[in-house]
Symmetry: C2
Subunit: 349 residues, 2 copies
Amino acid sequence: MTRRALPDAPLIAAAAGRRPSRTPVWFMRQAGRSLPEYRKVREGIPMLQSCFMPELLAEITLQPVRRHDVDAAILFSDIVVPLKAAGVEVEIVPGRGPVVAQPVRGRGDVDKLPVLGRDITEVAEGIRIILGELNETQALIGFVGAPFTLASYLVEGGPSKNHEKTKAMMHADPETWHALMAKLVPTITAFLRTQVDAGIDAMQLFDSWAGFLSERDYREHVLPYSTEILQGVAGEIPRIHFGVSTGELLGAMSEAGSEVMGVDWRVPLDAAAARFASPRVLQGNLDPAMLFAGRDVVRGEVSRIKAEAARAIEAGNATGHIFNLGHGVLPATDPGAITEAVAIIHEES
Amino acid sequence: MTRRALPDAPLIAAAAGRRPSRTPVWFMRQAGRSLPEYRKVREGIPMLQSCFMPELLAEITLQPVRRHDVDAAILFSDIVVPLKAAGVEVEIVPGRGPVVAQPVRGRGDVDKLPVLGRDITEVAEGIRIILGELNETQALIGFVGAPFTLASYLVEGGPSKNHEKTKAMMHADPETWHALMAKLVPTITAFLRTQVDAGIDAMQLFDSWAGFLSERDYREHVLPYSTEILQGVAGEIPRIHFGVSTGELLGAMSEAGSEVMGVDWRVPLDAAAARFASPRVLQGNLDPAMLFAGRDVVRGEVSRIKAEAARAIEAGNATGHIFNLGHGVLPATDPGAITEAVAIIHEES
């Protein structure tokens, strides 16, 4: 396929360090439970099943673009989709999250783990539908889960508050840990390759749990593998890298090589940019809780965040700004508050 | 009463910036679910009820001191104990946490909130029993929950993943927020006063959820109230101040005035100390997950942490070190691994 050029898409311009026609904005988890139209189309369909239904995943991906006038769609998917496609027994349990039937606890489990060696055709087909609906100012961001977060689900057997089994494996059995991470890279890369070949305009690597690691652990046990995944599409599409609670890790994470660094709401954007290994485009970082505080509060927060991004650019530590939340949209968020926030972000450029 | 002098207690010496006879160590949540003797004595007794039973709370407080040879007992209590004592309808629901019958959502709710105006005699009696059992090298640390964390339970109505109602109140209705915080101060102070008058040797202010705030929000909406509570016992006993995920807040939190600053495992102690407003005693910061990784891993981590503390002291940013975890003991921790870690920490002084 020929990738769309999108010279006028604000997100693509900003990601390339060019001046966008307006401040680009999208919100993590913009597709999903905050929208009544999402709850309606997902009714009765298990989460993971929906990620393999091309028409449905396209519809869910497009819903927030239609409703909120955001500058990008984020592919509706889940971090465990490539594992499921590879043949791992995993389900997403409502109210709990991904649960793995056979947790990975030793080298034998790693050796038995299947590797994804093919395109996920349902996802590719969904992307083709989405691209047919987006206009040339709207980018489609591919969704990729980072190997550490995926490894944590496999080792813990499900969502974990403290990741103790994962950290214990890292430290007590580093060979098995590294074997696991090395084995996840081709599976994740195949999922990313499916998306790139189907025509996504940019991608975000989600490392949801990275903020539970010290910088030492991150550098030794995670960074090489995230780097390898990002390197796999270098020069093809703009790459965004994000994890929540990663204030201490921003320098290390920026070394993985993405053009854009997502920032948690805890760290002001100018302080965040000063931690990068070299200047990057900033993405962030409105606290999602502020969408519960009314229009005036949002207006104040948006102008503060824009001013912090401008200071980072002025100081030479950042090369642009894509507006986003500092974490995902909370399920109870009023969709009207999201639409209003997007309008405020656009008008104040 | 006359407070114990404890010239030879390692924790008290370290907190005062003197050289202790050995590296003092205690572990947050050392009393509790990790111990079979705890599960046995708590059987059938609701959590909050146990905090008001002098013999039982004393027994639970003393169990880890007997078993692990730690240098301090931490009073077995809960952050909502002063609310309960003041007459607020609150229960601790197993597997969930504190649940408040009437959440605080507006100014009227704040005005109706009762204030604790008396000693909690059951807690005072428990402390007298504990002090009768500890020797002169073992300190008793009082337990006090910080007003922000308490306010979050009141506003959310229970434990919250994102604290959106709390943050919305802070920003959309700051007058009500400040009225709530101002009203919690005397209740918390009364609980602390009960403990100080009963003879505790030190105290820790636990701000469990502070790490969910940006530094801006912390300074404007939280710091003045935590400062007031700590000021209330200035010069009487050493004060420790801790919250998890507070890497971005260490400077602001240190301004509240405690002699000792607890540090989350995410931030190396030397980096943490460099963020303090002025030199303090460091407390921390072994990742509790490391207690699942075996003796050799713990030994390596303990020596790294001690070296980082030594560097902070050498650099003039810290005046001592109390060993602890960087968060509480995880419930599934093997008690033998805790005992072993304490021995390693002591031997390597």
